[in-house]
């Protein structure tokens, strides 16, 4: 049975208006997120994955602007909401985000308590004591002790700060949490602890996650479905089994990317790689955006824009080779 969709994105377009020209960072992106699932978003740097994350809060960083599409949160298009409605009903209330480099996401001059309490006050009418209890509960949930509340951010280690940020993301019990590279810059052990924590929380709280990272191995570990982005567009979208399973992904980009990921427990003689560099999004190549780097391109790839099509249930690919025509 299909679970209900919490979030649905339709034809989302976000452009950066820079001096050099218009950067089409997110170009007609469509996908949805089911209740209680984790959607992984992978891609190389500059493919627009972080941009997409901030767009979901309707908070593009200047000079970026959302120029088209819909973001339906339980049927309601949040792009139509006013700034104050967004603040009241969407941001943190329904969608919370753990930003990339979460260490810098805490205001350095405020104590943890002040920042958390402020967030709570903004959204809930609550007795002071109840608020304190709630903050402590969630800090304990992420494995931190109460006395963290009194500390300033610079007194905490990177892993602790990350946990605080996650606790803050959780404690309004939003429907969706976007995690943008929550573990980069953390050591493997801490990374594993954070991943474990997020998985536990998913089981216990039942929220949906969008997990953005450049690391395919982490996605294999955490995500139910994986969305592979390339140059502002979706290259492939499939379930964990479809992407990482024995038959492997369908899109040549995903295939190569996976082949380039070293395995710890296998002896690999030669790793795969993709020659060339990602395209300049001011003037992306015609046709399939991956075609200049594609090892198996067809003639039509160079000029025909490639659509995203479902090739099997829950598995969408944007590659002419994968379509039976």
């Amino acid at each position: 049975m299909e679970k209900e969709r919490v979030l649905e994105v339709q034809d989302l377009e976000l452009h950066y208006f820079t001096r050099k020209g218009v950067v089409r960072a997110v170009d007609k992106l469509s996908f949805f997120l089911r209740k209680g699932e984790t959607l992984g978003v992978v891609g190389e740097s500059g493919c627009g994955k972080t941009t997409m994350g901030t767009a979901l809060l309707n908070m593009p960083t200047p000079p970026g602007r959302i120029i088209g599409g819909k973001i339906l949160l339980e049927g309601q298009d949040i792009l139509m909401l006013s700034e104050s409605e967004l603040r009241r009903r969407v941001r943190w209330e329904s969608i919370a985000m753990v930003f990339q480099g979460a260490m810098n996401c805490l205001t350095p001059v405020y104590t943890i308590e002040k920042q958390m309490r402020e967030t709570l006050q903004q959204h809930r009418q609550m007795e002071k004591k109840d608020a304190t209890d709630r903050m402590k509960n969630y800090l304990n949930l992420v494995g931190l002790s109460d006395d963290v509340l009194r500390r300033y951010p610079h007194e905490l280690s990177g892993g602790m700060k990350q946990r605080v940020v996650i606790a803050t993301a959780l404690f309004l019990e939003p429907k969706v949490i976007i995690c943008d590279e929550p573990t980069t810059a953390l050591d493997v052990v801490v990374q594993a602890q954070i991943i474990n924590l997020l998985k536990d929380l998913k089981e216990q709280v039942g929220v949906s996650f969008i997990f953005i990272t450049h690391d395919l191995s982490i996605e294999a570990e955490v995500s139910d479905r994986i969305l592979v982005m390339y140059a502002g567009r979706i290259a492939e979208l499939g379930t964990n089994a479809q992407i990482y399973g024995p038959q492997g992904p369908a899109h040549p980009y995903t295939q190569r990317l996976l082949g380039a990921t070293p395995r710890l427990h296998e002896e690999v003689e030669e790793l795969a790689f993709i020659p060339g560099t990602p395209p300049d999004l001011v003037a992306p190549p015609e046709g399939c955006r991956f075609h200049p780097r594609c090892p198996v391109l067809l003639e039509r790839c160079a000029h025909d824009d490639v659509p995203l099509r479902e090739i099997e249930p829950d598995h969408m690919v944007a590659c002419w080779r994968c379509f039976d025509e």
Binding site: E44, S45, S157, G159, D187, V188, V189, V190, Q191, A192, Q193, I195, N196, K199, H214, D215, L216, S217, I218, E219, A220, E221, V222, N240, A241, I243, Y244, G245, R256, L257, L258, A260, T261, P262, R263, L264, H265, E267, V268, E270, L271, A272, F273, I274, P275, T277, P278
Partner: protein
Amino acid sequence: MSEPILVAENLTKWFPVKRSVTQVMRRERTWVRAVDGVSFSVEKGEIFGLVGESGCGKTTTGKLIMKLLDITDGRLMLQGEDVTHITGAALAQHRRHVQMIFQDPYASMNPRFTVEDVLMEPLEIHNVGKDRAERDVWVREILDEVKLSPPEEFLARHPHMLSGGQRQRAATARTLMLNPSVIVADEPVSMIDLSTRAEILAMMKQLQREMGLTYIYITHDLSTARYFTDRLAVMYLGKIIEMGKAGTLIDMALHPYTKALIGAVCEPVSGRVNRIKDVPIKGEIPAATNIPAGCRFHPRCLYSVPECWEEEEPTLADVGDGHMVACRRYREIQALGDAARTSDASLGLRRTA
């Protein structure tokens, strides 16, 4: 077995911590024990890996080998010669033999220099080559070597006009200019996109085969270490706690810390979701100013017993086939692990229950 090209014996680097006035008066001195007695030897043509988490001293070790930092204690030998305390001309000579590739390709080249300037610099410093024309030929050759060809296209470019991969190639080319015998590569691919990472590593491997280079590969990433290196040493808080052939060390890790590290690594394989549920380690890394007594890993070890902190720190012991481990309980732990695997009572299950 060939001659070791580089030998480190009990290599140590302590940094003094800046003291307050009262501490000076009380004659208190605290030290950051960044590298705390590291011994290993590297053979010619070998790729030796140093892995560990941030702050374990692996980068400092690299800099000690480069002689970018003064060695506090211990001995460093290069090609049979003691280079521990060399200065002046000998040091300059050392810097021709040992080269380094840095982690951040964006920072490792002066943004105001062109690729040509970057590659010329080592020649200018050491006054190699009889004139500019000769140097020019070399620069072009090396650029070809690292597959930045045609060289004319790259010579006049500034670093910001190169992609991350190209930049790391140029940085590699710079290290090759002086025909070194040892190259210290400090996380050379960690900031490079996955799609080109393998390309760089493949190039480095090819160069090694062709030119008979010796690499010391410093990384936090066990997966690339396994792919790239011949031998691997795992560092924890300034000390090597396990060392051996890369494959053996990862597939049959003995030290509980190595096991934890390996357990924490994600793999791009489906159907193994929840596999890293059990990371057999507790707490956070202590500060390098305050290294625990006894086995330095004991506060975080799930298997530690009183003798681990009451008795002296265990030293690296050979367990056969060059596999060395610094743990006094590794046999018992191994037995425990085997038992757990067979009896289905894995630590992971125990913790989730």
